[in-house]
Amino acid sequence: MRYAETGYNLEIDLTRGNIERVETDPRLTELHLGGQGTAAKILWDRVPPETDPFSPDNLLIFSTGLLLSTPVPGANRTAVNTISPQTGLYSHSLFGGFFGPELKHAGYDKIIIRGKSPSLVYLYINNDKVELRDASHLQGKGALETGALIKKELKDQEVQVVAIGLAGENRVYSATIEHHNSSASRGVGVIMGDKKLKAIAVRGTKDINIARPAELFELCNNMYQYIHDNPHYTGDIMAHEDDEEFHVDNFAWGNARTRVKGFWNKEREEKWKAISDKVRVRWTGCYNCPKDCHQAIKYPGRHTYFTKCYSKLTYAMAAFKELDFDYDILGVTQEYGLDGFSTPQILAFAVELYEAGILTDQDLPGFPTDTGERFFYLVEKLVRREGVGDALANGVYWAARQIGKGAEEYDHNSIKKFEQVPLKLGMINYPYFLMYATGEKMNITQIEGSYPQIPIADLEERKKFVDNWEAAPERFKKWFMEWEPRQHPTIEASVNICDWNETMHYVDDAIGTCAWLSSFRGQFGGRPAYHIYNLPKFISLATGMELDTDELWKIAARNRNLIRAFNIRRGLRRVDEAPPANHWKIRDPEKEQQTLDAYYEFKGWNKEGIPTKETLDKLGLDYVSEDFVQRGILTGNEGAPSKETSAETEKN
């Protein structure tokens, strides 16, 4: 019997309209758990490196986390994975809400989509009944509106829907997939649009087997209480805060260039709070979670949509506007299905190009003078790929190169061709340097989160913090005690911090627990609901697998290395692992490279950032090392990672 998982994937071939229910190999669950982990394995096996993102052979995979539909609170994340046309690399996104649990109850762990439909369709899954249905009447419809229309048409309010808006349909690179109060960003909506799949609607009523249900239920009940009782350690604090000082004073405005000091004051806080209170209709949560991190927003003249975390500021700050502007434009961009992190940067970039005379009135006929109005203008161009919008729709990196005339200079905030959160800071921060440089998931929020961002100045307080720090492996307690304000952690500590932070995300991304209860949350307050020490028990009770902390860490490392290998095979190398030159004002290139060397070595990678044969084999990824040797990515005679002379290897 399969526990926690259904043991079946749904394979959809859109080209042929073929639908298959395929039993999965339980061994893969032991090796990768589920979610992104098992998705990476499928991508490795089935999508060779020469595959173009827009080829019908590219896969779009929706993976439920392993613990979805078990009683584990806050386990509701679905991972979406594919190859991104923007980066040419692995693309990873997660969304919460209600879709994943419903899919599992329908009897599937994953939906694997290949091919391209000749015309716009949507997929309807109702337990064993699965069909592709015409979606021509939904063309151009808003992403959330599509969900509502499909429910009406199916006469079933209980189906859960994911859908793309106009942006996805027009293959805009920053297109999202929207679902209820959540969205999947970072370049997955574009592939759904390319495959002409407007939406997926799912309804499921089957049971999921749990290995030791009564024990798990009790453990989860206690956890539910803990999550509810500890608002300072769980959930999205920023969602509820009206004090935005942290974001508006520390993050860069406009095209990630300008810091607006002293913007924040009591008066503005009151003004902004009043705006939020007026447009917010409700706080909502995700499936089986006692938190309420999402605001339902009804802005006059716009459809209802949801915000979480910092997206309520990204457009305002990019356009140098006030909060009401953000709520207003989100009403448009959420329906179009646009990433709230990348899109504002693309728009601000275009505004800067216009002001620099690189884009002219010829490119932007009738371009308004007010930045806010300019943003609305540009959004329309972007989602329709009209005029210069066609270049902008490919993201800042590619747009800069398509537009030319020096526009490349204005692309100063992307890593691996992907727009980053606009954080331009003073002093180099080595753990962050590593996370930015080596992350496969393109956004710092998908990597950071376990180790606190700043030390606690008061020693006694710090001691107290460390004594209660159940989530942390011992070595971090020592480093945290030694950490003085404004002092750099040692190289060894930096490497370990990056490793721990990312490991927790690789765990969450496989089992589906929300990062706000786990991997992203420990950095604020140090007591996340889930951590590397208590998760093995949840997983064991749910799945029946024998699992301890070391084994869980190893699985996370296996997934991390497999995804890295997938990217390496697609050409990723050390030279790509570089935060923008102006990311910090004060930098130390030599020490940065030393730190990167140390990280690679710690990870068991060679100087190019390629996992060595030894590392791969130890993780049971022999098939990867064999492939690397065959392709000449590794020679097969490597010794210890530090002795690598990869530069030569590469040239061959």
Binding site: E145, D207, P213, A214, Y287, D292, T304
Partner: protein, 181 residues
Amino acid sequence: MKDQLEKKKVKRIKINLDKCVGCRACEIACSAFHATPKYSSINPARSRIRMVIDELNDEYVPIRARDYTKAECDGRHVYTINEKEYSECSFCGAVCPARNLFKEPDSGLPLKCDMCVDDPPLKEPLCVQVCKVEALTYEEYEEEVKEEVKLGEMEIGLQSLVDKHGLQKLVDTVARMSQKG
């Protein structure tokens, strides 16, 4: 029927629609409690409390499974509360052919809320216990009610037919049906 006053314990779940965050923990807990063996599985489709959610209309209504009804109503009210429209169905706990709610997914048999009867009794029904935001709260109080002879399910059904068509017509119909086999 002799009317006699007697004290009866009334169990009441109070619902505050404004507080609901739509987490569906109530459904999850209910389905676990009623699984056999207890807590062996969670499956909202088997829950006896269901959330009617229309997030774009900001509609979040928990409803509790009540009696089975063979036919859907012939007309429905639409209520406007605080500028939001609600169909009467959003408040109705009937197990009705017009919708999927409250039907055992395998057998299609109707589900009904039993206020989590247990031995020893729970302090509160489980859905209330897990609703941390207190959209669901529980109270018990005593009420003096007239003692009535309770009718069984079939009697209720027959009585309603008698009311509608008269006893003689009903008897004739039953006789005719039984002849047809």
